[in-house]
C-alpha cells in the first residue's frame, strides 16, 4: 500500500474528500444500474406468480407456446 | 401504389388478421377478400376494433398485428379525422388535398362541393363551418376520387338525414360502376345493393 495508515489514505493530503466522494458516487451509480433491472425482474415475476395463483394455478391468457 | 386489380377482380385480400390491444384479443383469424362491386359493413360495438381493422387494411398500422394484407388497387381512406384544415377554405382543402391522388380542376371541385351541399361555402374558412359541413368537405372527395376501393370509417357521423341519403346514393353509384366499399357505421346503411356484414366478434362474413 502506498499510504502509511488508513487515516492517511482517507486524507490523501487534502484531496481525500474529492477522491472518496467520486468513488462513492460511482459506487452508488454502479449499484443502481446493476440492481434496478434485477429488482424489476424479480418484482415482475412475483406479480405474475400471484396472478397465476389467483387464477387457480391455470395459466391465464397464455397465448402461444414457444 | 400503381397496383392493379387481379384478373379475378380482387381489390383487397387479407388473411388470418388478428390483433391484440392492451391485453385484449380484439379479433383473430379474419379472412377477407374484397372484389369489384362488393359492399362490406364491418360490425361491432364501440371498441370492437373496427377502426383498428380498417387502419390495418389501409396500411396505416404496420406493427403489432398478425396476418397479411395484400392491396391490389388504389384506395381512398376516410378516417375518424377529417383531414380538413380549418385555416383553408373548402375549395383550397380539396385543391391542395394532401392525399395527392390527382390534380382536380376548379370546376370538378366546385361540383363536388355542391354535391355535398356546400354550394355557397366554397370560400368560407373551414373553421367557420358547422360540424356536419366540416365533415362534408372531406366527403366531397367521394365525388372526386377515382380509386376503386373505398375504406370509410363512420362516414355518416354528424351528417343530417338528407345528407346521409345523398351519400348512400353516391355509394350505390360507385358500387354499380364496379367499385367497392368497406365501411363501418353504427347506423343502418340503406343502399340498394347486396350488403356483406363482417362481424368482428366471430370473424365471419355474411
Amino acid at each position: 500500500m502506498y499510504f502509511e495508515s488508513m487515516a492517511a489514505a482517507l486524507q490523501m493530503e487534502g484531496h481525500g474528500a474529492f477522491v472518496w466522494s467520486a468513488y462513492l458516487i460511482t459506487l452508488g451509480a454502479i449499484v443502481l444500474i446493476l440492481y434496478a433491472p434485477r429488482r424489476r425482474e424479480k418484482r415482475f415475476l412475483r406479480q405474475l406468480e400471484g396472478q397465476i395463483r389467483r387464477s387457480g394455478g391455470k395459466v391465464p391468457g397464455a397465448a402461444k407456446e414457444v | 401504389m400503381g397496383a392493379q386489380p387481379t384478373p379475378g377482380g380482387l381489390l383487397l385480400e387479407a388473411e388470418g388478421l388478428g390483433l391484440e390491444r392492451g391485453g385484449r384479443q380484439l379479433f383473430s383469424g379474419i379472412d377477407l377478400r374484397v372484389g369489384q362491386g362488393d359492399l362490406v359493413q364491418i360490425e361491432g360495438a364501440n371498441g370492437a376494433g373496427k377502426t383498428s381493422l380498417l387502419r390495418i387494411l389501409a396500411g396505416l398500422s404496420r406493427y403489432g398485428f398478425s396476418g397479411a394484407v395484400s392491396r391490389h388497387a388504389p384506395q381512398l381512406f376516410l378516417g375518424h379525422h377529417s383531414a380538413v384544415k380549418g385555416l383553408l377554405t373548402p375549395r383550397e382543402n380539396l385543391a391542395w388535398h394532401i392525399a395527392g391522388e390527382a390534380e382536380f380542376s376548379a370546376d370538378e371541385i366546385d361540383q363536388a362541393l355542391a354535391a355535398v351541399g356546400l354550394y355557397g361555402y366554397e370560400d368560407v374558412p373551414s373553421h367557420a363551418l358547422s360540424a356536419g359541413q366540416h365533415r362534408r368537405v372531406n366527403l366531397a372527395r367521394l365525388y372526386l376520387s377515382r380509386a376503386p376501393l373505398w375504406l370509410l370509417d363512420e362516414p355518416f357521423t354528424a351528417i343530417d338525414r338528407s345528407g346521409v341519403a345523398d351519400l348512400e346514393a353516391r355509394l350505390a353509384l360507385h358500387l354499380a360502376g364496379g367499385g367497392s366499399v368497406l365501411l363501418t357505421s353504427h347506423q343502418l346503411v340503406a343502399v340498394p345493393h347486396p350488403l356483406l356484414r363482417l362481424d368482428l366478434a366471430t370473424g365471419l362474413l355474411q
Partner: protein, 228 residues
C-alpha cells in the same frame, strides 16, 4: 382530372404549407418581429456595452436563429397529425421523401430564410462589423436549412405523443450544436479577418448530408407516429 406527378404534388404541398403559415399578409411580419424582439432582449440582459455586444453579435444572432427554429419546428407536423392530414399523406402515392422535403422547405422559408435575408439589419443593430455580414447571412441561410431538417426529425418522432414541447427540444438540441458552432465560427472567422469559406463549406456539407438522410428519418418517424 390529371394524375398528379411527384413534382406537381410537392409544389402543391409547399404552397399549402406556405398559405397555412401566412394566411394573412400581416403574418409575414411576425417571425421577423419576433427575431427583432428577442435580439433586443440581449442588450437588456447582458448589458449594453457596444464593444462586447459587437464581439458577441455572431453568437447572439445564431442562438436566436436556433431558438426560433426550435420554436417552430415543433409544429411542422402537429396540426396535420391532429386533423388526420398526415394519414392521408402517408397513403398518397407520391414518395414520402419528397413530400417531407416540401414540409421542411416551407418551414425553412418562413423562419431561417427570412432571418438570413434580414440578418444584416439585425447585425447592424448589434454593431457587428460590416465586413462580417456576408459571412453571417450566408452561414445563416445554409445553417438554418440544416436546423430545419434536423428539427423535422424531432418533430416527426414526437408528433404522435401529444406532449411535444419539451421533448422535441431534448431530442434535437444536441444535434443543433454543431451547426451553431460552425455557424457562429464562420462569422467569428470573418471578424478575425480569416476566411469564412471553410466553415461555410462545412455547413454546406452538413446540409447535403441532411438533405440526403434527414427526410428518410422524418418519413420513418412519421410512419411510427401515425401507427401509434
Amino acid at each position: 382530372m390529371r394524375v398528379a406527378g411527384s413534382a406537381a404534388f410537392c409544389a402543391r404541398l409547399l404552397r399549402r404549407q406556405l398559405v397555412l403559415g401566412l394566411r394573412r399578409p400581416v403574418e409575414i411580419g411576425n417571425p421577423l418581429l419576433f427575431f427583432a424582439m428577442v435580439i433586443a432582449l440581449f442588450p437588456l440582459g447582458l448589458g449594453p456595452a457596444p464593444d462586447t455586444l459587437a464581439a458577441f453579435a455572431p453568437g447572439i444572432l445564431w442562438i436566436v436563429a436556433l431558438l426560433s427554429n426550435l420554436l417552430t419546428s415543433e409544429g411542422v407536423f402537429r396540426s396535420d397529425f391532429e386533423d388526420g392530414s398526415l394519414e392521408q399523406l402517408l397513403l398518397a402515392p407520391q414518395p414520402l421523401y419528397l413530400s417531407v422535403l416540401a414540409y421542411v422547405l416551407a418551414q425553412w422559408l418562413l423562419t431561417g430564410f427570412l432571418l438570413g435575408l434580414l440578418s444584416p439589419l439585425f447585425a447592424l443593430m448589434l454593431g457587428l462589423e460590416t465586413g462580417a455580414i456576408p459571412a453571417l447571412a450566408s452561414s445563416l441561410l445554409l445553417g438554418t436549412a440544416v436546423l430545419s431538417l434536423v428539427g423535422g426529425i424531432g418533430a416527426a418522432l414526437t408528433v404522435g405523443l401529444r406532449r411535444g414541447g419539451m421533448l422535441i427540444s431534448l431530442l434535437i438540441l444536441p444535434f443543433y450544436m454543431p451547426v451553431l458552432i460552425f455557424g457562429s465560427g464562420a462569422v467569428q472567422a470573418a471578424l478575425a479577418g480569416a476566411p469564412a469559406g471553410p466553415y461555410l463549406a462545412l455547413l454546406g456539407a452538413m446540409l447535403c448530408l441532411a438533405v440526403a438522410l434527414a427526410p428518410f428519418a422524418i418519413a420513418a418517424g412519421l410512419r411510427i407516429s401515425v401507427d401509434a
